[in-house]
């Protein structure tokens, strides 16, 4: 290494030490991060988000019993992503769409061959043949249970894209139907916008939760959140599969 590298490493270590000091518990500056085992979740996120309440009208919420809390999903991260900040999520999906479109514009020639010249071995082919439906099912499970367990649209879509990547790795002649992918992607995006517009029509603001919330913790609960998550899953899965197909067939 040259002198410049040592100097930058030294500067990084000093900066890390300063940041560690600033967030350490010894100096009381309001920024303290507790140690691993001692964290109370209500100090980690805003307490109003956890209690499903931004209007200071909170009541006690009991899993599987309470009816119609403010945004009725059991997983509060989902409430933030698909309810309080749904417009943000729409923007993120648009960013992903623009990235996929740019990649397809540069590399999208569907007549080229696979990057790997031969098939994988027999064992890998049979293993992928068994695993592909299981992984697809896992992705659908993660998408549908997004408002009950960790995970959701983005994660499930990525699992589905990984299953398709495994198909590409095992069989050199595997090709995706890009027209179908485009139709799925456009359908999901337009449906997301239409749901937002229905909320604007019924309740007066874009992307409002206009369905009944139901009992917290059951599968059919949380109003419009599962529908939005299913649409996000379809869109992300189609986009990531298109990106992988464009990269490997070039």
């Amino acid at each position: 290494m040259r002198f410049r590298d040592y100097l930058s490493l030294f500067l990084v270590i000093i900066l890390g030490f300063i940041i560690f000091q600033a967030f350490d518990g010894t100096i009381d500056n309001g920024l303290n991060i507790k140690q691993f085992g001692e964290v109370n979740l209500s100090e980690r996120t805003s307490i109003h988000y956890i209690n499903k309440d931004v209007n200071n009208e909170s009541t006690q919420i009991i899993y599987n019993e309470s009816k119609n809390p403010e945004s009725g999903s059991a997983n509060y991260v989902t409430s933030i992503i698909a309810n309080y900040r749904a417009l943000d999520t729409l923007g993120e999906i648009t960013v992903l769409f623009i990235a996929a479109a740019g990649l397809a514009f540069v590399l999208g020639d569907h007549n080229k061959n696979n990057a790997f010249a031969s098939d994988a071995s027999f064992i890998v082919k049979i293993g992928v043949k068994i695993l592909f439906p299981l992984l697809f099912l896992l992705g659908i499970y993660i998408i549908i249970h997004g408002h009950l367990t960790p995970g959701g649209g983005f994660q499930g879509g990525a699992v589905i894209a990984t299953a398709i990547l495994l198909k590409f790795l095992a069989y050199k002649d595997y090709k995706l139907n890009h027209t179908g992918l485009t139709i799925l992607e456009s359908f999901a995006g337009i449906s997301f916008l239409i749901i937002g517009l229905i909320g604007l029509y019924t309740d007066g603001s874009f992307l409002t939760n206009f369905l009944a919330n139901g009992t917290i913790g059951t599968l059919f609960s949380a109003g419009v959140i599962p529908i939005i998550y299913i649409l996000i899953g379809i869109k992300v899965g189609a986009e990531l599969s298109g990106i992988i197909s464009n990269l490997i067939n070039a």
Partner: protein
Amino acid sequence: MLNFVFVLIFLALILSGFRFFKGPSSSDRVVALDTLTTIISVLLVTSSLFFDNYILLDISFVFAALSFTSVIVISRYLEGGNS
């Protein structure tokens, strides 16, 4: 009881991490990465027993199902014959 398990996993992590950073060829590093993945998925399952939370099992699901993808990609690359 679970602390003993965590000690064993700690030692296993140290040993396979040593092979990862030493390994003479790239294939050795891939083998060490595969072993580390298995060890970490066991760590996740036992620590979800430690935290006593049913929901956290989903992550070890994903680990067990998807972590061999990178191994297959790297071995397809090492196999040669890229067009």
